[in-house]
Structure formats: structure tokens, C-alpha cells
Symmetry: C2
Subunit: 197 residues, 2 copies
């Protein structure tokens, strides 16, 4: 009789917020902070997106919000509902290609680096490598937090996604250093396109 339950189609970011609420975040502000501390390397949400998302989650019946001022300071906290939990789990289990989007101007520039001299090309490699190194450092800095979350709350997957992030930036760093070596070798024999022209 119920037939197909009309799942209100919420944006991915709304589901992210829903997930954060299920993990214990209460206000929009806390959700934003949690995202910055955890998944920001593969997903970002601005607060201008979070507050409207919370409204649509509430309209969908997935969360229940109530005002909970701190002193005179306005504040609205949310709890996940039963249907919210079900919807979130369904979303997690949903099949189909989860979109993977990478936009990296550094790599784009490197693609065109034949139009530059060797030094400038090396600089581009350097830039890509350094940026990944910084990211790895930031990810490692988060490590202890993820450790304590795993111990205190029993959530082990944040550590795993952290490892994946480190792994792929480390791969970039390693490949960049190989490339640098090769370009140096080529350079010593002096055969840069730019120099010739």
C-alpha cells in the first residue's frame, strides 16, 4: 500500500550534515567545524549552505530542531529522527557511481609545461609537490584527533579515510620527486624546447 516511499531528494551536503548530526554534532556551527576537521579534504560545505540544508532536513522529517540559547545567544540544536537514521543509512548503501571530481590547475599547468623552459617546469612540479606535502602535514596533524575519536567513541573509519588521503598525496609527492630527477637528467644534456626556439 505504501508503495515507493518518496525520498525527498536532498543535496549531498544535506546528507553530510545529517551524518554529522548522527555522529553527535548538534548545531550548524558544530557541523561546520566537524567538516573542517575531518572531511574537508574531499568535501567542503560553507555555512551559507549548512543552515538552509538543516531547514530542508527538518522539512523532510529527518531531524528535529529546537532552540537552545546559550544565555542570550541564539542557538538551534538538532537531533536525528528514526526516519532520518533510515534515510542516512539508505543513502550510504545507495549503489551507483559516487562522483569523483578533481579540479587541479597545478596539473593543468604541468600538462602545458612543454611551452616553458626547464626551470619553470620544475617550479610547477615543485608547487604540486609542496602543496601535497602541506596537505599530508595537515592530515597527519589530524591523526591524534581521529585516534581519540576511535578510542573514545568507537568510530574507526575517520582514521581510514585519513589514511587514504595521506596515501594519495604521498603518491603525488613520490611521483613528483621521480619526475624532478628525470627532468634534471634531461636538463644537463640541455634539450629544452624553449631554449632551442
Amino acid at each position: 500500500m505504501t508503495g515507493k516511499v518518496k525520498t525527498p531528494d536532498l543535496s549531498p551536503s544535506a546528507y553530510v550534515a545529517l551524518g554529522m548530526i548522527q555522529l553527535g554534532r548538534r548545531s550548524g556551527y558544530e557541523i561546520k567545524q566537524a567538516v573542517e576537521l575531518s572531511i574537508r579534504f574531499f568535501w567542503t560545505i560553507s555555512h551559507a549552505q549548512i543552515y538552509p540544508s538543516l531547514e530542508s532536513l527538518e522539512r523532510a522529517g529527518f531531524v528535529h530542531g529546537r532552540d537552545d540559547p546559550r544565555g542570550r545567544m541564539v542557538r538551534r540544536v538538532y537531533t536525528i529522527t528514526k526516519s532520518g537514521k533510515a534515510a542516512f543509512e539508505a543513502w550510504l548503501r545507495e549503489e551507483g557511481a559516487a562522483p569523483f571530481e578533481l579540479r587541479d590547475l597545478g596539473l593543468v599547468k604541468l600538462f602545458f609545461a612543454d611551452l616553458l623552459d626547464r626551470e619553470a617546469a620544475l617550479l610547477l612540479v615543485e608547487t604540486i609537490s609542496r602543496r601535497s606535502a602541506e596537505t599530508v602535514a595537515q592530515l597527519r596533524a589530524i591523526g591524534p584527533i581521529a585516534d581519540s575519536v576511535a578510542e573514545d567513541e568507537g568510530y574507526s573509519f575517520p582514521k581510514i579515510t585519513l589514511r587514504l588521503g595521506i596515501a594519495f598525496h604521498q603518491a603525488m609527492i613520490d611521483e613528483c620527486s621521480k619526475i624532478r630527477g628525470e627532468l634534471d637528467g634531461r636538463g644537463r644534456r640541455g634539450s629544452s624546447r624553449k631554449t632551442r626556439s
Copy 2:
């Protein structure tokens, strides 16, 4: 007297188009194809973006376009101007963090996988791993084309960006298989959060 030359601020995608023209692509259609064949793994442009970009490049004096119909078929081809070459090189050399943006719902879901049973979590790892494997396969398929571009036209950096792409997806695959191993080990002792609740 000339003072600061007012560089019209074109979108990154316009610069990508400019670069493709410098590498010998002539029409919007060819640019689109070249992008799909080369940098699509870290940059995409829809044709709805390319044609307006070409107009702004022409307005900026960076390219010169002329109609070049094939029979009765409309077609407009572009050549890069001197100032276009200079502007493109300046863009390539421009310092400052080239934005790196990754949006990956697969990793987001994995982050929340503590809310699932072990099998479902493994499925998520599987999905991430498979997607990277497919990407690596596609990148390897492009390899021979990049090889011939390197030999025939002397452009060696397309091969290098290809390698970087393969390297980081391979890192994802490797890390995923480690994770899978660990989850299996944990599973045998039966301590999934979902099962307990």
C-alpha cells in the same frame, strides 16, 4: 607610459582553451575533444563553456578567429596571437596556490561507515577501489596516444601528468586493498558496531 597592462581576467577554463589552441587545436569542437582525451581527469569543460570562452579570448586579443566552413557546415577556427602566447606563458608562470579541489562522495560515505555493518563498509571500499581501477585503465589506454604526441610533436609533459594520475589512483587502490585486509581480520573476530546494537 603604458604602465600596468590590464590583463583581462579570464576564467581558468578560458586559459585552458588558449593553451589547447597554442598546442594546435583549431575549433571549439577540437578543443573539447582534446580536453576529453587528455586533462579530463583533473579538469573538465563543457562545450557550453568553450564557445563563450573563445569569444572572450578573441575580445582580449589573445586569439584570432575566422570562419572556415567545411562545405556548407559552419566552422570557426582560431589561431593564437603574440599577446595570446605571452598571456598564456604568464598564466603558466603565475605564482600562488593553484587551487586543488577534490569532491569525492565515495570517501565521504566511507567516513561514515561506522554506522554500517562490516559487509556494507567493505562494499564502500570496493566501490572506491573499483572506480580508481577503472580510471587507471582509462589512463593507461591514453598512454600510447601520449607517447606518439611526445615522439611526433615533442610534447613530453602530457605523459608526465598521465603518470601522476596513474600514481595517485594506484595509491588509492593499494591502500584500499590494505584496508580490506584489515577489515576482514576484524570481521572474523566479529566486533561490528552494527551487529552489537
